[in-house]
Amino acid sequence: MHHFIDRRANPKGKSLGNRQRFLRRARENIKERVDQSVRGKSIQSGSGVQDEGEKVTIPTRGLKEPRFFHSSKGGLRRHVLPGNKDFVVGDTIKRPDGGAGEGGRKASEDGDGADEFSFTLTQEEYLEILFEGLELPDLVEKATVETETIGTRRAGLTTAGTPNNLNLVRTMRNSLGRRIALQRPTTKSQRDLEEQIAELEALEERSPPQEAFLAELQKKLEGILRKRKVVGYIDPLDLRYDTFVPEKIRNSRAVVFCLMDVSGSMQEREKDLAKRFFLLLHLFLERCYEHTELVFVRHTHHAQEVDEETFFYARETGGTIVSTALEKMKEIIEERYPPDEWNIYGAQASDGENFGNDSVRCKNLLLNDLLPVSQFYAYVEIVDEAAEMLLNNPEAGEDLWQNYREVKGQAQHFEMQRVSQPGHIYPIFREFFLPKVKGAQNAGS
């Protein structure tokens, strides 16, 4: 008795439990590497994480499966090997480097000899580790109010339509094929014939053979002209039109505004911290929205929209007027990102300095214009590592900080934090996205 069984339809992921156990086991190592990989990334171009997952290489410590096995060194061993060419008994061979005889350590030690272990984390797992315990603010709410607009989608070709939808390429391709198939005389052959005729006609006296030739040519020309008329250059048969069908489009789109002070006081260290902050926000949002865009706005005493490279690495001098950046953001929203189609997120990084009484202006801009259309707005103030006092005391601070504190008092979806070193980014970032109840507690304490 025998039988065949088709197992292919069996549920996938039989080893999922093993994988989870493995990831849990290697969590510390993996987390370290994931944190490192964040540092080296561009926010935009790599868009954080590839769809197919993230390759990580972790050290094998903690993942070792030790066994009792023979050391590869020392002792007396004999190896039987195939392929003797010209050895005779008693020949000596220099010991290969490392002193170990080949084959001394058998392959069955399951490759544990390597110090590094590479494998691929899925995107899900990568983000899970990166954003452990985080939650997008008001995600549910916004997910339900995702707007729908009617758009159009191309739906192939038809033979009838309006001229504005004419598909030239396809039409001309058909025309060319038809002309070749029906042997339509070319314009050149017509011209040549006409020239010959003109030449003959120009002669004052024609010999009879020439007369006959002329008559023949004229007849030929007549034929060509007739054929060119019958076989048109473009025939109604050739015409092709694009067609479009209307379609509902969901707006699962988000735009992240990265605002940063780039005046002289913002050095490499400050920018590096800010970059991580923006990167994390973008990575997180990308997970929740089908489409996310980034807008980089830098400012000194005036604001500019720039690309990522310029944003992080170009130098600029000038004073510091924060409100210019907020103005710019407002402008861009009005121009390109209608709030009923886009989920808007703001992220601002600064060293806390501002010009004169500009901070009040900032407060008003935020409260009146930006926060009402935004999903979430986060502000980080990057302070000196020595500024213990500021880190520990949220009440102390300069003008901008004080005004923003007022904003925070009035808006639920506004968050602010101080950071001074890379280690601060993670926990603080997490606080931004803690479920609301806890977030409120943190703010209160």
Binding site: D6, K12, S15, G17, F22, L76, G83, G101, F117, T120
Partner: protein, 504 residues
């Protein structure tokens, strides 16, 4: 007349396989395997699986059901990475020593490959599993599925009850001692699942009662015994605990002062599976040699009868040639002797010695040189040997010359490696002996035994590593394993290396 004509028609034409085609191919293979070669097989259960399922099976040492552990996840991640980057292909099949005999065939295989794989696994390996004495005596082909199911459920239940971390700790330690969890000489019992569950319940009940009793007897009744002379005490312990004991896991399961009943059961599961897989480790060359010989014979026979098209035959031979490729020692592809190559060559050689013996063969193999029934000679060999003894008995000078085998001696005391034997009359016997030793697990794996444990004294567990040929244990790993051992034993553990004289 009609039947003969039908047999001459190709079984299939084209690369696509279907279940109907596989059914016909299987029938044709069976006819040759049973009728011509006289094989004796378990009923076949042939399962078609996808690449991912194959990777799954890989990570769980090829078993269809396995308890969950992070190390399997690690192996899966590694194999998957290798496979996805194209650095490692997947096997065409995996076959399991069970009754019915389950073989997994990859869905990507062409019809020609499916035919080859069926002949190889469903008949070659299957016959070997059913008939080889090691498998017959040491494994329970009918019960393995039930046991695996039991193990999986039991461990899952433990995880729920005691937490995954506690279970992981025991399993990690048990895995580290897996190679020390087999009986090499004594025979393990063969209980069924129902018995196992019943036994385990009884054990749990008994042992929880026992531990209370132990304290009582120790403190009240056992006192006078302690007065006895040390030596007598020692030999009493040795007798009572069956010392020395090579199966360390077994010893811990029975005598560890700190393990609870469920933890002992985990050790038992790990050592039962190690024991189940142990014969496969001892018969790599023979098992693959047998399967490769069987598929080669059957394919050629089918082709001879016109049941396989020329194209399919070429495809099968291409694959066959790849499998039995043996790179020479200085070839960059060389990674040791290929068990498929050596096994297949030895099987072919036995057939040659039976059918067309030379004088040399008659001198070396008087028992079977010129034997008219080569099939029977071969079946006997498959049934009654393991790699080590098989090579010792059947490796012929002809083959040693063909492979140009030579022995390289690596003595740490000498500055250079020395070629000690080559394929000449003086070297045949020594090469054969050296090669056989290379497949002797008792020699390859470290000889570690429990020699003493005084439960009434300091409770130190004493292990002895018998050092052969001056080869010691890898120190880094040794420390790690000892840590695991201490966890399982609960008290101090020492490992002494005892040198034996270098035999030459």
């Amino acid at each position: 007349m009609q039947a003969a004509e039908k047999a001459r028609k190709p079984l299939f034409d084209g690369p696509e396989w279907t279940f109907e085609l596989m059914e016909t191919a299987r029938d044709a293979i069976e006819e040759i395997a049973l009728g011509d070669l006289g094989l004796d097989v378990y009923p076949n259960q042939i399962e078609i699986i996808s690449a991912e399922q194959m990777l799954d099976a890989y990570s769980c040492v090829g078993l269809p059901l396995m308890y969950q552990h992070w190390s399997f996840g690690k192996h899966f991640a590694r194999d998957e990475a290798l496979y996805r980057t194209g650095r490692q292909g997947l096997a065409y099949e995996i076959v399991i020593n069970s009754n019915p005999c389950i073989s997994y065939n990859m869905e990507e295989n062409t019809m020609a490959m499916q035919t080859l794989v069926m002949a190889h696994a469903a008949f070659g390996h299957n016959h070997f599993f059913k008939n080889n004495y090691l498998f017959q005596q040491w494994t329970d082909a009918a019960g393995i599925h039930d046991y695996l199911a039991f193990a999986k459920n039991y461990i899952a239940a433990c995880e729920e009850r005691y937490g995954p971390c506690a279970v992981e700790e025991v399993l990690d330690a048990a895995h580290a001692l897996q190679s020390q969890g087999v009986f090499r000489y004594g025979r393990p019992p063969k209980p069924t699942t129902e018995e196992l569950v019943a036994m385990q319940k009884v054990r749990e009940g008994y042992e929880s009662g026992q531990s209370v009793l132990d304290i009582w007897t120790d403190t009240t009744l056992g006192r006078d015994k302690l007065e006895l002379v040390e030596d007598a005490d020692f030999s009493a312990r040795r007798k009572q605990m069956n010392l020395p004991q090579e199966n360390v896991l077994y010893f811990l399961e029975k005598h560890s002062p700190v393990l609870e009943a469920w933890q002992c059961e985990l050790l038992r599961i790990v050592r039962m599976l190690a024991q189940y897989l142990y014969p496969q480790k001892q018969t790599k060359v023979m098992n693959e040699g047998c399967a490769t010989f069987v598929h080669y014979y059957i394919i050629n026979k089918l082709y001879g009868q016109g049941q396989i098209t020329e194209g399919a035959y070429m495809e099968m031979m291409h694959s066959h040639t790849n499998v039995v490729l043996q790179p020479e020692f200085d070839d960059p592809r060389f990674s040791g002797l290929n068990p498929y190559a050596l096994g297949f060559a030895m099987m072919q050689d036995i057939r040659r010695i039976c059918q067309d013996p030379t004088d040399e063969d008659r001198e070396w193999f008087p028992d079977f040189a010129g034997d008219p029934d080569w099939r029977k000679v071969m079946r006997d060999a498959w049934a009654n040997y393991r790699d080590e003894s098989f090579i010792q008995q059947f490796l012929s000078p002809h083959l040693i010359r063909k492979f140009k085998l030579f022995t390289l001696t690596n003595d740490a005391d000498l500055p250079n490696l020395v070629v000690s034997q080559i394929h000449n009359r003086a070297g045949y016997k020594a090469i054969r002996r050296d090669l056989a030793k290379q497949y002797d697990l008792a020699y390859l794996e470290p000889d570690i035994q429990v020699t003493d444990a005084d439960l009434r004294g300091d409770r130190e567990l004493k292990l002895t590593h018998t050092v052969r040929d001056g080869i010691h244990l890898d120190e880094e790993d040794q420390e790690e394993v000892l840590k695991h051992l201490r966890r399982l034993w609960g008290y101090d553990v020492s490992l002494d290396a005892v040198e034996t004289a270098c035999e030459n």
